[in-house]
Symmetry: C2
DNA sequence: GGTCGAAACGGACCGCGGTCCGCTTCTATT
DNA sequence: AATAGAAGCGGACCGCGGTCCGTTTCGACC
């Protein structure tokens, strides 16, 4: 682990009561199963509650809204990604040159966002505008930019680079503009090299 | 008008029948009135139909979904913006130096997106991922970048600059990162000057 | 083990988005 | 003007997200 940053916060405080914790896990398992079987559209709140063998009120008490439930599912994989970025193998994890890690960052986020696209869309702004996730990515990239020797303010360039592989921007480029993933990464790399000092 | 680009396409083909056209206008007027009175939350499909004096089926036939209705409302103001950018007064319209027009573009989009934020959020991906709008902006900025003498590929930098004043990115910067609008524009200007050749 | 307050549970209930289909209205054609 | 048939219309109906509140369960403390 190359530094300490707050990981994505637990969106719902861990329940204290035993039954509450058990139900929480049952609900998440049911939600994952439903998505695996029938896609995001199959994730109805009634179905989740029924499959988990609990009442609907319990489900809503735990996750607030359908989008909140989705955000929790996304947080799970985000947590795994963040661990990989902080203490996993290079080039995404520590141990590789900063520029290589930056490229790995872009490729990895692109892959993740394409893989989870349906769920991210359905979660709407609840997840997409998540401050802690974006904030983590910006700090991560900013750290690597500084390590790579960027001159001047690093926060805005970091924001730019993170933004350019964010879900809405990728959708625009991949779907609307009909670009291939590798073309997107080429553009991103060019942008990175314009922002870094010429070596 | 400095060039010809396709304006935002009519989202719903103009009705041929007289009564259909009349109802369409009545529905849009009702929708605008409801939003003016009670915000986006007051825009229920039943209320729009009732206020316009037509049946619910007619409303859905015309606009497809609630989001589709919102997208139509947004298209109206977008059309006005595009006219201002193509044939309005400088610096947004033609007649000013390219760099000034680019700054005017950023400021104008920021203002527009902040003003319409609630509606844009509520419209979801129906409007936000709108290819024709984003495509228009990218072409506009790309044109100005070339006029300003950018070297190399201009499309990706144009996409970057457009993206950085898009609604989700602005929300992240203004709400989550607590930046002021002028700070955002400063960052944008810096980015622009990094992308343009040093003069 | 008994007691008690708080936390969690569950399912009836509500409002809204969206669909469906029989009825009405318009306009092209003669 | 009459006609025909396509386009438009309307509102009953449905499913799902979300709420509410009386009931149940947990576990801390005695």
């Amino acid at each position: 682990m190359d530094r300490s940053l707050p990981l994505v916060t637990a969106p719902t405080a861990a329940p204290v009561r035993r039954d509450a914790a058990r139900n929480r896990e049952a609900l998440l398992a049911a939600a994952n199963a439903l998505i695996a079987e029938g896609g995001v559209a199959a994730l109805t709140m009634d179905a989740v509650a029924c499959r988990a063998g609990v009442g609907k009120g319990t489900l809503f008490r735990r996750f607030g809204t359908r989008e909140g439930l989705m955000a929790t599912l996304l947080d799970e994989s985000e947590r795994r990604w963040q661990e990989a970025a902080m203490s996993g193998p290079p080039p995404l994890g520590p141990g590789a040159p900063a520029r290589d890690r930056l490229l790995a960052f872009a490729g990895s986020r692109l892959e993740e966002h394409v893989r989870q696209d349906a769920l991210i869309r359905a979660a709407g702004t609840t997840w997409g505008d998540n401050q802690s996730v974006i904030g983590f990515h910006v700090l991560h990239v900013r750290h690597l930019l500084l390590e790579a020797g960027i001159t001047g303010d690093a926060t805005y360039p970091a924001t730019v680079l993170v933004t350019m592989v964010s879900p809405p921007v990728l959708r625009q480029q991949l779907d609307a503009a009909r670009l291939t993933p590798s073309r997107v990464l080429t553009g991103w790399t060019d942008l990175l090299d314009r922002l870094l000092p010429a070596d």
